[in-house]
């Protein structure tokens, strides 16, 4: 390489940024992003790819429509493509956000384990349902990682697809040089809540941005051991709050009637804080999937702690592209049925993007392979901590370690995750079963039941398990649930 070939303009040009958007066709998030981009200090082009071509096209149409609104300050051009390679080619930024048809997948993740007495609250990221979601998704994301290596090896890849830990881990396992970040909103919600306490208890004029935390763990099972709001140490406040009646409420099914499944009553959070002396930093509905004793006793226990199960019917309903509200919105906006205002959505994604293009530093939580940021968890496992985002650069912050009992729970989940990742390298189903077998939710089943549950899930989702070698599986062969000749 000679100096002459060095480009002095930087790799990322905020006037000509190229974004590849993979999936996300029907999600609320695409329209929000499109509006955010229109208001940003960055311009460029967005190429949208989705297996559902129609929704990629609708989003492209919407994107270009938004650009024509007079409040749009940035210049973006949107284009849909039916070839993922075309979308990725030369991209600076890749957004990954896909999902299989829930009616054929997620519904089983929730319903089949329930028959075995595993009453998962969300079943999206760990437990039998979460593991099968991972098993379906990992092979596809290995392909994505390989395509990134080929078409845009230096791109910043934002993964929003669940289970975030498994999926981000698979991206790095396939292409270790990838610049991928696993992103999730849960910690932001915790900072929102802590800002509320600063307002209510200390009379501070505080919002999420004022609250900084030292966060660490794995996605959906993150913990916080330092909290500051505008220089005020909020940690001592927690002990006081945890002892109040508000932190010791007992809920019944009736209490939760009519409540959204997304309402977070923080009772699980407070109980874990009281027991272990460190504060969880994800919604209660996610925490219970990792701190599994809250799932024991089924609906009653879950409700008693203020958590409402996300039923499989909800999932199925809220996905179908044709009916989803946001789709309707987009069409309504474009055809004038509904008034459109161009407002920013306050998404962290835009802050990260701004920092990556030079407007940093910006500190936020991300999921990355562990290279020391969580000292007492395994290297290379994907962990969640704060990171500093600077121009074309993201580096995790050294967040320290854990008290032993909490570390023990986290390591157990990492062992499941890593075992499934190991198994996915060759599609060894029986090795994946080992990860399944030691999962904290599955462990509550007798040995044979865990095998039958596994086999039933394989049977129900077989068409989505392409990357796995079903034929040579001893587990399937010995099961009653799975028909073999």
């Amino acid at each position: 390489m000679t100096v002459d070939s060095l480009d002095s303009s930087g790799r990322i040009d905020s006037d000509d940024l190229s974004i590849a958007y993979i999936g996300g066709g029907s999600r609320q998030w695409a329209p929000a992003l499109i509006r955010d981009l229109a208001l940003a200090d960055i311009s460029g082009d967005v190429r949208l790819y989705d297996v559902n071509v129609e929704s990629a096209e609708r989003n492209a149409r919407f994107g270009n429509w938004v650009q024509r609104q007079e409040e749009a300050v940035a210049e973006w051009h949107y284009e849909a493509t039916d070839a993922i390679d075309e979308a990725l080619d030369g991209a600076d930024v890749v957004i990954l956000s896909t999902q299989f048809d829930p009616a054929e997948t997620f519904v089983h993740d929730l319903d089949i384990p329930k028959e075995y007495g595993i009453y998962g609250a969300v079943a999206a990221t760990i437990g039998p349902g979460g593991i099968f979601r991972a098993m379906r998704t990992i092979p596809l994301y290995r392909e994505f990682a390989a395509a990134v290596r080929e078409h845009c090896p230096d791109a910043w890849v934002f993964n929003y697809t669940n289970p975030v830990t498994f999926v981000t881990r698979a991206l790095y396992d396939e292409y270790p040089g990838i610049n991928a970040l696993g992103l999730c909103h849960e910690v932001l919600g915790t900072r929102d809540r802590l800002a509320r306490y600063a307002r209510e208890e200390l009379g501070m004029d505080a919002s999420r941005e004022d609250v900084s935390v030292n966060v660490k763990g794995i996605n959906h099972f993150t913990w916080v051991d330092e909290v500051q709001c505008d220089g005020v140490d909020l940690w001592p406040l927690l002990a006081d709050l945890a002892d109040r009646e508000e932190a010791r409420r007992t809920f019944t099914a009736e209490d939760l009637d009519g409540e959204s499944v997304f309402t977070d009553n923080w009772q699980v959070t407070w109980e874990l804080y009281r027991t272990f002396g460190i504060l969880p930093a994800a919604g209660d509905r996610h925490l219970v999937e990792y701190a599994t004793s809250f799932l024991r006793g089924g609906k009653e226990t879950l409700n008693r702690w203020g958590v409402k199960r996300t039923g499989s019917d909800y999932r199925a309903k809220h996905w179908t592209p044709a009916e989803s509200e946001q789709t309707t919105d987009v069409e309504a906006w474009m055809n004038g049925e509904r008034e459109f205002t161009l407002e920013s959505s306050n998404e962290t994604f835009m802050d990260i993007l701004a920092a990556l293009t030079g407007d940093g530093p910006f500190v936020t939580n991300v999921n990355l392979p562990n290279e020391g940021q969580v000292d007492d968890l395994q290297r290379d496992a994907v962990v969640e901590t704060n990171a500093v985002v600077r121009e074309d650069d993201v580096q995790p912050v050294a967040a320290g370690g854990f008290p032993r009992p909490v570390r023990s729970m986290i390591r157990g989940h990492i062992d499941t995750q890593e075992t499934v990742i190991e198994a996915s390298r060759t599609g060894d189903l029986d090795h994946a079963f080992r990860g399944f077998r030691i999962d904290q939710q599955v462990r509550t089943l007798p040995p044979e039941a865990s095998r039958e549950l596994f086999a039933e899930l394989v049977l129900a989702e077989e068409q989505y398990l392409d990357g796995w070698n079903l034929d040579e599986s001893r587990i399937l062969r010995e099961s009653e649930a799975y028909p073999t000749e």
Copy 2:
């Protein structure tokens, strides 16, 4: 130190060995030891101490009586003492084997968790019962360790008291320079079984002594990944055996009717071997307490895998000193009611003792703090591997590590053990609860139930929990089961 003060006769003199025997008054083991010593190539004196003075005295009487039998080749003098310091003073060897009155302790360990649905098979070394047994025993053994440091700092301390891991760990935690070995028969049983296979399947003339294994793990949850019998690699044989009908039996309660609880059907062993590809090396009744899915489904599951629960009535009955068979034997022998023959019992203890006094090297499994012998388990935790015993010297053998899923299970138990040990340093009951709370058996309970179970056990065994600070416990204060004003 000058050369003149150096004694050229060695620290341990096999003609004048001094043994302190702490506890063990009513156990079968003392009379066996006495007979073994009489036949050994070692002589000396034995000082017996037991809280039950009477049984120490009876054993001393029996010891001296055996010495007068004409077949006795060694010269031993037995003496009972009611002062532990006297027993320990200047001892070369200390044997620890004590137990609290099961009717007031062990019975609760078994019965109270059962009410919560935890159907422990033995409840002696892990799970809620095992943890409480540890909590009762650790403070006493800290005192023993301190007494050893004062009265016989270089003595070889043989710990037979359960839970062996917790107790041996406590000895080292209190006096890091102690020469303590945790001993257990389970791995010997596995070697016996493997010798049987060598005989039956390969027509070899094999016994336990011919079988060598690479063993590693924690007591009662040890694993073997190499097996040789007289130079023949038995490992390939296991895959064949594991696939046979004999290794796939299903038991009912009726099948086990009349069976001893000690009968080992190896169905748990085979299932774990098939699942994880490595062979467990402890009796099935112990394994299920660590591989806890075998406890899920209660009696039915346990029986289905050929394991019979050791009921609390059994424990209570088989302990009461006055009625125990072995006591009767001793008296009967001495008063001539029963014919006495002086035979050796084939105990490993005698082999270790012989090797320590110069007749080595001898290789056998022992429990010791980890200093690298199991590479992927925590340092200082007490682990079980082979060790080489030589004159006044015991060194563990480097046994390597584990496949991840098995390691994950073991680490989880170590985390419970270490948390309880940490808590025992100050008697912090709420910290001990953290270890209890993450125990694999306890985790199957909803959060509140785990607290109530803990409180109930504290209440039932309160008089044996001297070393613990009950007054400042938040857990007790918040519980319903434990009365606080």
Copy 3:
């Protein structure tokens, strides 16, 4: 703690900041700081303590004089004190910058080893001189740490005193909860240099602030493996530069005649880069003390690589308070002999201070105990990496590890540092000698010479080695250099 007692105004108040300035009486840095503070967006009081009371008083006088200048925007009050406790009491920020009389210490650090053939370039932070500087300084800084714990336990402590690694380590070893940062300019100089390359080679309009590096190592032996300037990856440029004539210059003593010892010719930097493929990030004169082959061959080798030794005469001359230029300046300014202009000095200290009081985040290199930020160096050793400074919060950034050969050199120095720190806990001189003996510079001596050198240094600096137990040292007793009766 109740909510009522929580102060909603934050621990650090930028309108009422309390700074304790320990030492630094005669240094150039105090007057610069005083001017920076006057221009800052922060106000408060500064208490100055120095063993040389006079210079603390002069600085206080100067500080208050500057405040009276009309360009001063902040409000600061300066006060000298002769009691360190008074200076520290309730401080938010503590600045440590002390030095013993070089004529009685540093001169020996340089001259005595030279007699043994160790031609240290600076002798300030490692090698026999650096180690003795550490041995003199550590006991005093243990006292400082204890005083901070007592008088201002949460204060942010900025340590500028060399050897930065040893001294910062001692602060944490004495008071593990201290918020101390070890600070040094060397990495900033490297970023300046890299900015120059960006300007000269790529025509960029770049300054130090535009250059971000991934820096890691120990102070004065830091390394960089990523370099970006305004989003442009400068790494490929290095290979090109390293091959040019400019990076392969050979210097003679004459070439360096008249040059300042601080001139950095980067020939050592380039040679290490070419050999190991990673870029050192400290001045060449410091690097050679750690990459010790550059010291072999004495003056000639050193000069050949463009490094000029800092002679002991220079040190002695440039310290004496009465004559130093900066003192003269201060007096001249105050009495009007010289024109005074209030300008900021562009010190990183002010950026850190601003970020700590809420104007962050700010990323810069600091020395902190390793908690994972350098994955393959020992935990707790003091390492240098980037850190993110936010309101009342500093967290190091996970910087990864090293190629083996470089790691090997760094670990060797850490072993010396940690051995000396261990020794300093009890003042065990012979254990300190072990650290001295394995030092890379000392290792080039025959065994006896290393002992004699050690003894000579002890003898020469005896009055400054209060914290060390000289009487019981076998090394001194066996030496010829040190007189014992």
Copy 4:
């Protein structure tokens, strides 16, 4: 695998053992082995392979001749072969003991560094000479390892070839499943010496077999921290001995005149013991190559510590096959010129062999990849500790760790060794140079001199460096010593 295919006779049959002897043609050791085998309780065949076919044939002839002597109790058949594959095919035991012509290799290892002021005492296992010996040998031993994998994958491979650490490491690096042991006599010599002290100081009737040590480190830089003789702790004796005049002798060149280079005066040993509190366990002439300050000051220093350099002339002379004494002996015995008596040589090899065939356990020091036996040295590096040898099984004993200063020295050497091994995977000469450059002997040279020395050695031994990529080496290209066009 079915049971039927399992052989109940064991893999190693002591009545039909197959030994492959690679190299060793002219060495003293082969005739000794032949006599030992004749007296052993094992029979079988030995296939000899040497590049020098003649000497393999002579040894075979001698072997068969010995078998015909009437004192021979075992039955062995000897055969020479000129195809290594034939020698290895189906072997149970492989002995590796080769050497290149010293006149063309070893002579340079000693003489060229000496010109640069590196006065290596032996230059056989570390330092510039040792590293070049490693670089010559590693590629060949990679071939041997590959041949073992193909022709006798389960064979026990005894490596006697120096540098033992590098070579054993290369065997495992090439074929991780190999059963290779690196063997060396040095620790045995230390045990002999300690037995002498037991005799002389304590009046014990002791020999090497009575002395047990806890040994650990890397070959030729091993250390002992526990010593027992027949149950007597000898450790306290060392402090007394180290303080005596005998342990504080100063030698001159004259004192050593006429002495063998193999005479071990233990002055280096005592000095290291006094400094670091732990006892080295290799001959002084080897220790000085690792504790390199003893080499500083050249001949004078070396002699002062009682060590005599092994000159290159000695090496060259003592190797030439035709003239060597042992060859003469063999011929003289066979043709009756000299009386032959069949005596055993007391070689450890025979004890290991006996234990491997079932006559164990036997404990002795061996070199093996670290799997935890030395807890604070890197995994996979080849370390030396005790191991237990049992039938078809060798397991290292967990030996613990090191005091920091000693560990630091050892780790430095391991870093050189591992860097050269890494480099040897692709033949990357410049990466090998990095290992050379950080070697403790080489570090005493200025940077350019280390490069020139490396280049000179490459030039002198070029014909033996087949496995290395000389053409692409930057180091050679930049050197003056190595001619490039």
